[in-house]
Amino acid sequence: MKKYILIIPLLILLFSNPVSAFEDETGCLLCHKYPKMGRITEQGIKRSYQVIPGMFGSTVHRNVPCTDCHNYIKQLPHQEIKEGVRCDSECHSIKNPATGKNFSHKPIYNTFKASIHGRDKIETGLDADKPYCISCHTNPIFNPDEEKPPKRIIDRCVVCHEDRKFVTNWYKHTSRRIRDVKRSPSEIVELCSNCHSDKALIERHVEAAKKEGRELGKKYPIAVESYDESFHGKVTRYGFTKAANCLDCHAKQDNYYMNVHDIRSSRDPESPVHENNKVDTCRHCHIHADEKYAQFDPHPTSKKEANAFRYYANIIYGWVGDIVIALLIGMAVLETIGRRRDGAGWILHKGSSWWRKSPRNRDRIE
């Protein structure tokens, strides 16, 4: 029996799907393969610098050699790292097939840089609160189970492209983009909420704006909570996908993927929520929207300082409701007391509910 048990791990090894080999030409793994490779930062955070080749080999950056991104490392062992990886650096090993230039995230990075969120890799002060690329984008692991390409397509591709693995990866790369894979609305709201519902962060920015005499968006301090209170927000929280989420209104829709990186302040004439652009933005979904429609508040709130009308209306509504209920229940209680006093029983029993004795001396004749 024992010798058969040994076969099991061997079988697993045999049929497991080995990830693409990660070539360590620069010898980084000499040190970075060790699990204890890491440090405790000045802020007391434990950082691990271990690279697990099998894991990294499954990510979208698997074909990029370490020094293409960590281009500041010129010798081993390397010096202390000040800035780290910048996402706008150029890959020397990967060419952009469309332009033939070195591949880089520079175009989208520049768009992002010009947006209200734009910042550099290392920032201090208020700009450090802004998101950098990795605040939203991780280095996603390629999911081998996501979708098996249809055999008939791969069979056709290998006729010319020969390498079955290449065409499989190429198919996955392309089909994923054709399928319009993006974050779900509730994930988008969650992502934006990471910063926009951070009370300390908001307070810092509101205070700073006040000091500098700079104007902030009217809804800036309550953006998330008011959206959550809106109909769009509520149904999105339940997983409904057709209601507007943050990006549907705050990013221009002509090139969604580009423009989600180009969020502008609502005072910027380029912003889709700028006074002059609101109607067009509403019309993406509400096709008959007009100027009056665009005045509807998509971030409703009952906070006194933000919307006094709604604040008082809400209070009055609450009171009216409470008073009505109290009066009606009071009436029912009084009526019950009166009728019980007169001998009413709860159940209609043998043809009458007045079988109890009453102190008024006018009981049912039995």
């Binding site: 109909f231 509520k234 149904v235 929280r237 339940y238 997983g239 409904f240 509400h286 096709i287 008959h288 929207a289 007009d290 100027e291 009056k292 429609y293 005045q295 509807f296 508040d297 409703p300 919307n307 009308f309 709604r310 209306a313 809400n314 509504y317 609450g318 409701g321 009505v324 209920i325 009606l328 229940i329 009436m331 029912a332 009084l334 009526e335 019950t336 007391i337 009166g338 009728r339 019980r340 006093r341 007169d342 001998g343 009413a344 029983g345 709860w346 159940i347 209609l348 043809g351 009458s352 509910s353 007045w354 008024r360 006018r362 009981d363 049912r364 004749i365």
Partner: protein, 313 residues
């Protein structure tokens, strides 16, 4: 029983409208004379069938009630978890009604059924009102329309409830409580329809309302829809259901919404004027009452001392 001027008027009108002949008229008057003066003693002694003795609601009204009843509750259960999403019960209730993709379809579909039920009711009432006016049978006090008498009835009934009066007032087919409930429901229904329509057709409301007021209107509607829904549900749960299921004599259930009939004791207690009309319109009720008054020796004319003396001989 000596009738009040008001009751006499109702009785006279009813006899005139029903073209009661002199023989019947004498019979009815004799019968009413035999009813004990203490109305409480009267309704305490009648025998009632729990599922109802006397006609009250036509089949149309029962269908309308059923439609409103089913749609209202389902609308509440599909709508409230959205409006009150932060409450602990919201998520499970939303899952129970099929999740947002399904519940929104249910909500909108049933909203149209509810609007249909309301229109059905309004047109039905208009039709019977026109018919009755044409036949000269329309009686305002017998309808649901509030009159000053209701204010007086309310005052007198409160005096009865607090023990300062020994009789409930002589109320008509619809007592003050039912009129309050009816108009509250009608108003609530209208609010729900208008505010609901401002969610599903916001562009329409923005187009027809003047500049400057459209956004305030929308804000009011956003507040009204959940506030009114919750108020309506609470009124139904704590007041209406108490009155028809839990109140003394109504437990476990008043069958009127299914059978269209009201129990005799209830009719005499809360709708005495309608009971007088029943006496005119239903000969079998007169027959029943005659037998009852005899059997229970309730008539004020019955000389109890004499009877007892006769028995002892």
């Amino acid at each position: 029983m000596k009738l009040s001027a008001e009751a006499k008027n109702v009785l006279e009108t009813s006899m005139r409208l029903n073209k009661t002949d002199d023989k019947e008229r004498a019979e009815i008057e004799q019968l009413i004379d035999n009813i004990p003066d203490d109305r409480v003693l009267f309704y305490k002694n009648v025998v009632s069938n729990p599922i109802g003795d006397l006609p009250r609601y036509s089949i149309h009204i029962r269908i309308q009630h059923m439609l409103i009843f089913v749609t209202f509750l389902t609308l509440a259960f599909t709508g409230l978890p959205i409006a009150f999403i932060d409450q602990i019960w919201a998520q499970p209730l939303n899952d129970m009604v099929g999740g947002i993709d399904i519940s929104r379809v249910i909500h909108r579909t049933l909203a149209s059924v509810m609007i249909f039920a309301m229109l059905y009711h309004v047109f039905y009432l208009m039709w019977i009102a026109v018919r009755d006016v044409a036949r000269g049978r329309f009686e305002l006090q017998r309808s649901i329309i509030p009159t000053f008498k209701d204010v007086r009835d309310f005052k007198l009934d409160m005096q009865y409830s607090t023990g300062r009066r020994d009789q409930r007032p002589e109320m008509d087919k619809f007592m003050y409580k039912q009129k309050i409930h009816y108009f509250a429901a009608a108003f609530g229904n209208l609010v729900m329809i208008i505010s609901g329509s401002s969610f599903i057709f916001p562009e329409f409301w923005a187009t027809i309302l003047p500049q400057g007021s459209a956004s305030y209107f929308q804000e009011m509607m956003r507040l009204s829809h959940p506030h009114e829904a919750l108020l309506a549900l609470l009124v139904i749960a704590f007041w209406h259901w108490y009155n028809v299921h839990l109140a003394p004599g109504r437990f476990p259930m008043q069958w009127t919404f299914l059978t269209g009939k009201i129990t005799r004791e209830h009719q005499i207690e809360e709708h005495f004027l309608e009971y007088l009309r029943n006496l005119v319109e239903l000969p079998e009720e007169r027959e029943y009452l005659n037998e009852l008054l005899d059997a229970r020796e309730l008539s004020p004319s019955t000389d109890k001392t004499l009877k007892t003396a006769e028995d002892s001989i």
